[in-house]
Amino acid sequence: MTAQRVAIRWVLVVVAAILQVVVVNKWHLPLGHPDLLLLVVIAFALASGSQRGALLGFWAGLFADVIPPAGHIAGRTAFAYTVVGFLAGLLEDPEENSVFATIVVVLGGSAASVLVYAGLGGLLGDARVTAGATTHSLLATVVYDVVLAPFVIPVVANFARRFEPVGVR
């Protein structure tokens, strides 16, 4: 069963990461784009708790750090998603979260991921991280993620609940 659960998580992560760069990023929406992978991490953390949320966030982030066409220092997305996965998991509810709570988590999680990622970039002297770029990214990611959340979160949560028996830790 464990192998199957791990496989399901990886399928979700890989599919979201590939759709992100092949489909979503090609839309070239104004200011930025939604972050599909972050929504997967949040949905999973909400269904499975902070420890599993942090773990999935780490691996999903690491995958996003190396999947082409990644061109940044590896580990930054892993760091940001680990933080978001852990925090979102603190609000775990094995049955179902209210729509309002989910929206608040997506809003906060999206903002946190951008700020942590940008903060690490600032520490590393990344020329891409300017006040303007960070503001744009923050605004776009938060708005687009909240819009996409009702479509992505239930699907992922459903997967997580079906294949992760509740109560077994």
Partner: protein, 314 residues
Amino acid sequence: MRNSRRGRLVLTILLLAAFSLITLDYRTGALNGVRSAGSTIFGPIENGVGHVTHPIGSWFSSIGHLGSYKNENAALKRRISTLEYQANLSAAEAAELKQDRALLHLAGLAQFTVVASRVTAYGSSMGFEETASINRGSASGIKKNMTVISGDGLVGRVITVGHSSSTILLANDPTFSVGIRVEGKQLEIGTVSGSGTNRPLTLELDSNTALLSPGQSVVSLGSSPSVPSPFVPEVPIGTITHVNPLAGGLTETAEVKPFVDYTAIDIVAVVVAAPKSVKHDSLLPASPTPAPTVTVTVTATPSSSSTGSTTTTP
């Protein structure tokens, strides 16, 4: 909260692991190999997914409804969706053909040896970076730092190479910079760097005596004895749109509108070999100065009217 202590321990370990990776990659670039492997493994997958999602959206949505209608209706709908599919495809193919021809024209003029490729993916999950994947790699002779062009001009340079896919850093990425020459007789050289999505490129001149003016075109400098550069020379980059007033700086800076629309690149080419020198300004698009118009006058002669029509009377 029974597992909160263990959860915090896991969090700490993961964050330390991520931070170690960051440090390792930052100091030594140790993860370049991992990114290359990622390009080798996931590049072809991205290419495959891109093929499916390319022009067929409407076709997919129309086949979902077929079963619920009467046979005749279904046949008609199928016919329509086939035609729509063909129309979408031929529009996409026509656009691609146009890009192909422009690209071949530019590469032919400069006598560059190029590897043509398709853009399969953009950017990353987190944004900030302007990068793209292409579906050709080391198997086609592509190496790191090679110049990437489209029919309009400079697209970027190769930063990661996998077996059959590579990653390019687009010219509008803030970490991108290229040595340039301003068009014209006098050798005004400088650096152009990116400023992010949908923003003009930034030009900074090397000398403080030169004067820039809007409308001048900028091309890549290429390697010279004083400036070693991975870029090939003379690739068109853009046009100066605005010269910034000298404000404390020693050298002049300007905004450059790129010839290439980085959000709409589809077919690009990696320059794998270039001649030592290319004639100055020979690759720039035709200037908007009015060319002499050639008027061809055709006079129809009445006597020739019988040539086209052969009438048979029963």
